[in-house]
């Protein structure tokens, strides 16, 4: 506790003596606001990561469907979300789709939209990143040599069994680097939620700097925080890759 206080005091001195005002280091209110933003960003990122991977898996599976209609629908979905701005996608969902949906009554009796801004951010970003994940998973599945699946078939595996025990485990390992890349981008994309008033990290930082007038300091803190979040994700993905690495390959 003592050392925490000492750090806070030092930053207070820094602000007074040199005008470098890292208010979140000593001001409890600013810090709480910033930390809430941080936790919102982390929560938002995790939710979107999980959902986007689900979208990717389902989409990749549907791309192998027999019906050409289903395959065309998936292709259209992928191309659409990959080739339009995520910010406009977000606005499309939050303003347009939301307006087309019915309102519901909340527990206080107020009329509220069916899905709130946080909900739309999660949906929008998950679909956006999911479209990329579909492509990543598909190319991973295609990279598994046909000879390997043929061996499974010759041992009596059904198509589903061969997917579960042979194709997916291999395809997933092939996908991991590209997936990691996409998830890093997803985390960065969560900042767009600022535009619809989701109190994530950027939003919280903007609140702090507009009241404390320390844009310069908060900007540095903000950038470093994002770089740190990305670093953690990259570290995690690399550890995962190492764990899944097969001895004798890819030394």
């Amino acid at each position: 506790m003592g050392s925490m206080q000492a750090i806070a005091d030092w930053f207070k001195w820094l602000a007074g003596a040199h005008g470098i005002n890292v208010s979140i280091a000593y001001d409890a209110f600013d810090r709480a606001r910033f930390l809430t933003g941080l936790s919102t960003t982390v929560w938002l990122s995790v939710a979107c990561i999980v959902l986007s991977i689900l979208v990717g898996l389902v989409g990749a599976w549907l791309q192998g469907a027999r019906s050409p209609l289903v395959r065309a629908a998936v292709a259209g979905f992928v191309q659409f979300f990959r080739n339009t701005p995520p910010l406009v996608q977000l606005a499309f969902f939050y303003f347009a789709v939301s307006a087309a949906l019915p309102m519901v009554t909340d527990q206080f009796g107020a009329r509220v939209p069916l899905v709130n801004n946080v909900g739309w951010a999660v949906i929008s970003f998950s679909l956006f990143a999911g479209a990329f994940n579909i492509e990543i998973f598909r190319s991973g599945i295609e990279a598994v040599p046909q000879a390997t699946t043929e061996a499974a078939e010759a041992l009596g595996y059904t198509r589903l069994q061969s997917y579960i025990y042979v194709v997916f485990p291999l395809a997933f390992r092939i996908c991991l680097p590209a997936l990691g890349n996409n998830l890093v981008n997803l985390v960065k994309t969560t900042t767009l939620a600022y535009a619809i008033g989701v109190p994530e990290l950027l939003y919280a930082a903007a609140q702090v700097w507009s009241e404390t007038f320390n844009v310069r300091e908060m900007m540095v803190v903000l950038l470093l925080t994002y770089v740190a979040i990305v670093a953690v994700l990259v570290w995690f993905m690399q550890r995962w890759e190492r764990r899944l690495r097969i001895p004798g390959y890819n030394a």
Binding site: A154, L155, G156, Y165, V166, P247, Y249
Partner: protein, 248 residues
């Protein structure tokens, strides 16, 4: 090798295989009896591998009949699982599952396909790896094994399904002479134990030694066949002699 030859296991009757306009197999008929070891030889591109794959329904044939131990393979309602429990196949490129250890590779199909109890499967897998002399490599991944070792794991993996018939598709073609021998020894032992085998091979010496019957194919048809002693000494057809002159 001469055993008491049993009932026919494979009966192929006038099959034909086309890829578009290309005829890969033309009017092929042959019989393999229980305990027999049959070798198919011939120049590259003569349809040998396609023939083996057709027996295991990995390649559908266009015409004719293939019966394996009573199962008609050229049948749209074929029960593939039933067929593949009877027929094991070993490929030129081993095709082991790279993310599983040698032991796991051998155990996978009996566990997932036959749904046999794990301890039973594991005990049998260990015995099979011992049989192919790889007891010390149970925990190794395919990428850590030599080609010959991988190929022997692949043989053990097929044997784990207790097949009535083993197909070997140029299993030594990708191996260097040293490791080739290990694999050939394993196959010879299997044949000696009375396993019904069908081999596609370029190893003429080995074919002469291990086969009960030799088929020579060229251009998608069987040019001639006979017991090895006869076949190698006095081939009747010009094409056969030309081929043998080239490889011997």
């Amino acid at each position: 090798m001469s055993h008491e030859l049993g009932a026919p296991i494979v009966v192929i009757d006038a099959i034909e295989k086309r890829f578009g306009a290309l005829v890969v197999l033309r009017d092929i008929s042959l019989t393999v009896r229980r305990g027999e070891c049959v070798c198919v030889i011939g120049p590259s591109g003569s349809g040998k591998s396609t023939l083996l794959r057709a027996i295991n329904a990995l390649v559908p044939v266009s015409k004719g009949s293939i019966r394996v131990d009573g199962i008609e393979v050229n049948d749209p309602d074929l029960d593939k699982l039933a067929l593949r429990r009877k027929v094991g196949i070993v490929f030129q490129q081993y095709n082991l599952f790279p993310h599983k250890t040698a032991l796991e590779n051998v155990m996978m199909a009996p566990l997932h396909v036959l749904k046999q109890p794990k301890d039973e499967v594991e005990a049998r897998a260990r015995r099979l790896l011992a049989k192919v002399r790889l007891s010390d490599k149970e925990g190794a991944y395919p990428g850590e094994l030599s080609g010959g070792q991988q190929q022997r794991v692949a043989i053990a993996r097929s044997l784990a399904m207790n097949p009535t018939l083993m197909l070997f598709d140029e299993v030594t073609a990708a191996l260097d002479p040293e490791t080739k021998k290990e694999v050939l020894v394993t196959i010879r032992e299997l044949a000696a134990e009375g396993m019904t085998c069908m081999l596609v091979t370029h190893e003429m010496g080995f074919a002469a030694e291990v086969a009960d019957h030799i088929y020579f194919t060229d251009g998608g048809t069987i040019v001639e066949h006979g017991p090895p002693a006869e076949f190698f000494k006095n081939a009747r057809h010009e094409r056969t002699r030309a081929f043998l002159d080239q490889v011997l």
